[in-house]
Symmetry: C2
Subunit: 193 residues, 2 copies
């Protein structure tokens, strides 16, 4: 990719992370990026394609970043690791943007549906596979994903990291206690809580 185009893409990502994508328009974006609407179209072809490239770049960056973190961390429950990663200064705004995209796509799929590569069903499958066998159900996996989504939403709205993190820990604790009172999971099983 041309270096100038790369710069513009970088600036666009920064702009979107700050302003969201609901009311994006070319001229203000261009001004913030130190260029002109003319050049945005020149380099990307259209506004649509610009959006597509930006969101693709975001996705692959997040995938990469998470793979790196999740391979390194071993001393925490994976759900907790994922939370730390998602709420870190580096990734929070990106995740927030993806949640906005998710909601807009749910409201009108015609406009935003095509950008949705983060398929909910895939996440649930991924989490399900990481659960201990006794809990490896759709319901349980869906619940885990929902807890994460809900807490992230709450964090977005209130900015209260302490309380939301405490709630996540509470969830992990509740699941552990339920485990010890119901069907026993084999000791040493890796699981996402």
């Amino acid at each position: 990719m041309a270096p100038r185009k790369q710069e513009i893409l970088e600036a666009t990502i920064a702009y979107l992370l700050k302003h969201g994508l609901a009311d994006l328009s070319l001229r203000p974006l261009a001004a913030a990026a130190g260029t002109s609407a003319r050049l945005l179209i020149y380099h990307f072809g259209s506004r649509e394609q610009l959006l597509a490239e930006v969101l693709d770049a975001l996705h692959s960056r997040l995938r990469e970043s998470f793979a790196e973190v999740s391979a390194r961390e071993e001393h925490e429950p994976p759900l907790r690791t994922f939370w730390n990663w998602a709420t870190s200064r580096r990734n929070f705004r990106s995740l927030r943007l993806l949640y906005e995209l998710q909601i807009l796509a749910a409201q009108n799929p015609d406009t935003y549906g095509r950008y949705l590569t983060r398929n909910s069903r895939d996440w649930v499958e991924l989490v399900r596979a990481a659960l201990p066998p006794a809990e490896r159900t759709d319901a349980m996996a869906t619940l885990f994903v929902a807890v994460f989504d809900g807490l992230f939403l709450e964090l977005m709205s209130t900015g209260d990291r302490k309380r939301t993190t405490a709630a996540l820990d509470e969830f992990i604790r509740v699941v552990r206690r339920a485990r010890s009172s119901g069907t026993r999971a084999k000791r040493g099983d890796r699981d996402v809580s």
Copy 2:
């Protein structure tokens, strides 16, 4: 309120429930409502005020509807009652619209922040008060709200009511099991699970 204005407001609500509010504009709305952009402004003063009145009406309707339902139902855990109510044919689209508003407001408060009467903190407080004393903590209340939000989000995205409802029931079950293995709550306590 003038009856014509009432009709327009009704049609606007229907339109918003169908199309979302991210890309609302007067002329298409007016066409769908069988009137003209001219009259929207005439009756409501401005686009902003129209939106404000519509969202106010939505809020009070939902409050009313929920009060009615929650007073009637006694045989279920309140969280379950709330879920049934929120996902019913009658209320689902309204809730979805409010979630969209919530996210847009979190992304740019300058544009949408003023419409946010559904303060997250208030919900948490409400839920907290309904919890049995042993669990009456911020963390637990936040967790309950998050589970609901997350599951509703998942329902919005996938439409899979069966799976999300099963996940909610799973959550209720997990909390019960944790209760019976940890500090005992007094029998007969009303609580939101």
